[in-house]
């Protein structure tokens, strides 16, 4: 169905090809997963299928790509629209119309299908994707999972033979990701659609793949094989595979179910051992910069820690309620953050995670209750004072970066934070070795940009650090570096709050997990206790080794060592 014949792509201005020697074939009705670290050219390979590379992006494509017998060299993307459906990383930039039903019909209108055919297919697709209840809704009001399903539906209606998806579940919470994957399963099984997709969250998708194409390094020829074979050598792999490699299982199990059936002996070996506790190290908070002109009355009320006593909380949230646009975003939330503690804030899209982070940095004004960060009320503290108490890395790290070069960004950050010149640059060199002063922040990869934004925030040395969805778009390597870095910061006494959907990240890092649902805290306790009891938030290793309480493959590795 899709055939790559010795394809290499060189973008204009690049001195070497982004991908080289791509030579494989995807037979009809298979689900093929494209894996590899960030920047190895996954999106380029996907774009080449729909003809967007090179017709739209520019550059030179050598070799030949054929889809359903059509050569992309002679067919423009619009002429392939009836055989290839492409959904990019951000569904919102994919929508042309404003309601669900019109969006589903748009592609068919462009192809000139007869009105009665369109009508029938829209109804069929609404049912297939479970969107019937949303047909008249404005797309902007849908949740992330619903938007992703509409995006998939909108390319499905012309009945393409091939579906190309770039990171369809990265931005979704576990339940919404299941929704989308269930739909893909159904398409492959019932309709015989050929699916080619790239995804970083392998733990979610690898078990559905018929075959895996691994791009081992930029410009290196891809490896093709069954999931188990490729995972055995892949530099990126989900925790279940990591555990399988650790235990020496062969063939490698890809699903939790397979692994559980093999894990009896491992459970026996681990019996009696306990995971190294991930209790927060009681640490002294980094010295709080003395606020110079903050209102004095607030300072007086600040609790002064007595020597030898429990360290004062870095932040205290009491009975916080937030109402925004007529929606109760948060309701009676209590939270206390000690220095050196890492907390994972989890819950569905729209459960109030970002609102809680927003109220900790003063972006959101509480409508009830109180928030104190190092003694200050965030939304009444001038930003200049606040940055030295609390720092937030937003979901889109790029929002924090304004300057043209890394050096200029660092200089601005030092000035904003009133830190000694060079503070931020030193942090950048530590986090991102090898990034030169004149690099444009836009040319950095997702992970590098996140590190730069983190350095900018850390220049002010805030005792409380907040991260919103830090692992979105990060590959396993970048994630491992982030985990190491955050651990170090926690050990130095920073309190860290992560709002995340990534259960594996929470398992690796968090001392405590706080679950939010509809703006209320529904669970707050040590990570092991909270995630073990939840089916959707339990990490894979926990599911495999239950009832023992292991969270990560690293813990198991340490225990066995």
């Amino acid at each position: 169905m899709i055939r790559f014949e010795d394809v290499s792509v060189t973008y204009d201005g690049a001195d070497r090809p982004t991908v080289r020697g791509v030579d494989f074939e995807v037979p009809e009705g298979e689900l093929v997963l494209l894996v590899g670290e960030s920047g190895v050219g996954k999106s380029t390979v996907l774009g080449a299928v729909g003809g967007l590379v090179p017709h739209f992006t520019g550059g030179t494509l050598r070799g030949r790509v054929t889809v359903a017998g059509r050569d992309t060299r002679t067919h423009k993307p619009r002429e392939l629209a009836d055989v290839v459906g492409t959904v990019g990383q951000d569904p919102l930039s994919h929508f042309v119309t404003d309601t669900v039903e019109d969006e589903l019909a748009y592609g068919m209108e462009s192809l000139g299908l007869a009105p009665d055919v369109m009508r029938r297919r829209v109804e069929e697709t609404l049912d297939l994707l479970g969107l019937a209840g949303l047909r008249g809704r404005s797309i902007a009001t849908l949740s992330g999972g619903q938007q992703q399903r509409v995006a998939i539906g909108s390319v499905l209606t012309p009945h393409p033979k091939v579906l190309v998806l770039d990171e369809p579940t990265s931005a979704l919470d576990p339940a919404a990701a299941e929704e989308v994957l269930a739909v893909l399963q159904r398409l492959v099984h019932d309709l015989g659609t050929t699916v080619l997709m790239a995804e970083h969250r392998l733990e979610r998708v690898v078990q559905y793949a018929d075959r895996v194409v691994l791009l081992p390094a930029p410009g290196a020829a891809p490896l093709l094989g069954t999931p188990a074979d490729v995972m055995a050598v892949s530099p990126v792999c989900p925790p279940v595979v990591d555990l399988g490699r650790l235990a020496g299982w062969s063939p490698l199990p890809l699903t939790v179910r397979d692994a559980r059936r093999r894990a009896a002996d491992l459970r026996e070996r681990l019996d009696g051992r306990e995971p190294v506790p991930t209790e927060a190290v009681p640490a002294t908070p980094p010295p709080l910069p003395v606020p110079r002109q903050a209102s004095r009355w607030r300072l007086r009320r600040q609790a002064v820690p007595e020597p030898g006593a429990e360290p004062a909380p870095v932040a205290e949230v009491r009975s916080l309620s937030v109402r925004r646009d007529g929606i109760q975003a948060l309701l009676h939330v209590d939270l206390s953050l000690a220095p050196g503690e890492t907390i994972a804030l989890m819950g569905r899209n729209g459960a109030g995670k970002s609102t809680l982070l927003g109220s900790l940095v003063g972006l959101v004004e509480p409508s009830g209750g109180s928030v104190r960060v190092s003694g200050a009320v965030p939304h009444r503290t001038p930003p200049r004072e606040l940055v030295r108490r609390v720092g937030l890395v937003p979901q889109e790290p790029r929002d924090l970066l304004y300057a043209d070069t890394v050096a200029a960004e660092c200089a601005a950050a030092d000035q904003d934070a009133q830190a000694a010149p060079g503070t931020c640059r030193a942090l950048v060199s530590e986090l991102l070795p090898g990034v030169t002063d004149d690099t444009h922040p836009r040319d950095l990869s997702e992970g590098q940009r996140l590190a730069l934004a983190l350095a900018v925030v850390l220049a002010a040395r805030p005792p409380l650090l907040l991260l919103d969805e830090p692992t979105r778009g990060l590959d396993y390597g970048a994630k491992a570096r982030l985990v190491a870095l955050l651990r170090e910061l926690a050990a130095e006494g920073h309190a860290i709050v992560l709002a995340t959907h990534d259960v594996e990240l929470a398992a690796e890092l968090a001392h405590r997990v706080v679950l939010l649902a509809e703006g209320e805290v529904i669970a707050d306790g040590p990570t092991a206790e909270v995630v073990v009891s939840s089916p959707s938030f339990a990490p894979q290793v926990t599911k495999i080794l239950a009832p023992q309480r292991w969270l990560t493959a690293t813990q198991v590795r340490e225990a066995l060592a």
Binding site: H55, G88, D98, G112, A114, G362, P383, L386, L400
Partner: protein, 359 residues
């Protein structure tokens, strides 16, 4: 449900006809009646789309227009001669070359009332456009464009959906300034996020263009060269004819040939558009249909406009209550009854079942 809805064009005709009616009168009672009629229809017939909520924005805009008109009348004075002095503002003496302009001075009741009537007329017109917007989103109207103009229509739709994105981006980036420890309020804050916002918009446009291309936007059908040439000739000739005809109508000596040339030009241009539509293989999904209800809606608006134009010609005093001398406006019976005909859509057009809003 969708079959029984009213064609978007019908709603726009209805609302614009009400607006036309509003321009024929300055009688505050009639204008108030027009406002009530359009407001009632909007409340009963509007759909649950986001544009439906823009009605309140139009109401606020209309109020602002009214207030500005009054402030101008008070501060800059008015040519209306009046005897009832309400208040005397200190007058700013202006040099000779600014003769005819006055700052401050006497404020008469007559001038204020005149400004009020005038402002109310404009406000009513605005609110009628707002009603059209709330009853049928402009995007729905664009769907009814002829095939040849389709691509322009999509460009407009995309531009319309981009504005809200731009505002959301600007808000997010201003919030991010606070995270950097810079003040997030004030004009400077807005200016500094300008460039990143535009950058983001540009990137999104490129992504959208790619998505549209991949979904078949801009596919063309093969047309015979003869048809292509005829299309070009018809369109160009038609537009030239329209220009010449308009010129003829507006000049004194062209009274004879003006109208026929204009009509012929229009016909040729429309034929060109229709032929041009054959190049695009597009079809339409569930187009709005002109059903009897649509006719009733458009017709009721047209009748209101026609009757008020007639009334304005027959009985101008009733529709333009006197300001000098100041008299209380009376409600002219027949024009008022004509305005009430505008309520017809509320009786015939089905109300859409209230959709459950996302919580």
């Amino acid at each position: 449900m969708r079959e029984t809805t009213v064609h978007a064009g019908a709603w726009w005709l209805w609302a614009l006809a009400l607006g036309t009616a509003a321009t024929r009168t300055t009688n505050p009672l009639l204008l108030g009646l027009l406002l009530a009629v359009s407001g009632y229809v909007v409340v009963t017939c509007r759909s649950a789309t986001p544009t439906a909520r823009s009605y309140t924005a139009f109401l606020k805009l209309a109020l602002a227009v009214l207030v500005i008109r009054l402030v101008f009348a008070v501060v800059l004075g008015s040519p209306i001669p009046g005897t009832h002095v309400l208040v005397s503002l200190p007058e700013v003496p202006l040099p000779d070359w600014a003769q005819g302009i006055r700052l401050g001075g006497r404020v008469t009741a007559e001038a204020v009332v005149f400004a009020l009537y005038d402002g109310l007329k404009l406000a009513t017109l605005l609110i009628c456009v707002g009603a059209a917007n709330a009853l049928a989103a402009p995007t729905r109207l664009l769907k009814s464009l002829p095939g040849a103009l389709y691509e322009t229509g999509v460009a407009v739709v995309v531009a319309l959906t981009f504005a809200p994105h731009l505002i959301a981006d600007a808000r997010r980036l201003r919030a991010a300034r606070r995270l950097r420890g810079r003040p997030d309020r004030g004009v400077r804050g807005l200016l500094q996020v300008g460039l990143p916002v535009l950058e983001g918009a540009l990137e999104r446009s490129v992504a959208l263009a790619a998505a549209m291309d991949a979904r078949g936007y801009g596919r063309t059908a093969e047309v015979a060269p003869a048809v292509r040439r005829t299309t070009a000739a018809l369109t160009l000739g038609g537009l030239l004819g329209v220009c010449a005809g308009t010129y003829g109508l507006l000049t004194a000596e062209g009274g004879t040939y003006g109208l026929p040339v204009l009509l012929a030009g229009l016909a040729a241009a429309l034929a060109g558009l229709w032929l041009g539509g054959r190049r695009s293989p597009r079809t339409r999904y569930r187009p709005d249909a002109w059903n009897p209800r649509s006719c009733a809606v458009a017709g009721s608006g047209a009748v209101v406009a026609a009757l008020l134009v007639l009334a304005a010609a027959r009985d101008p005093e009733a529709l333009h209550p006197g300001v000098v001398p100041l008299v209380a406006p009376a409600l002219p019976l027949w024009p008022a009854a004509a305005v009430l005909l505008g309520l017809l859509p509320a009786l015939t057009a089905p109300t859409r079942p209230a959709r459950k809003e996302p919580s």
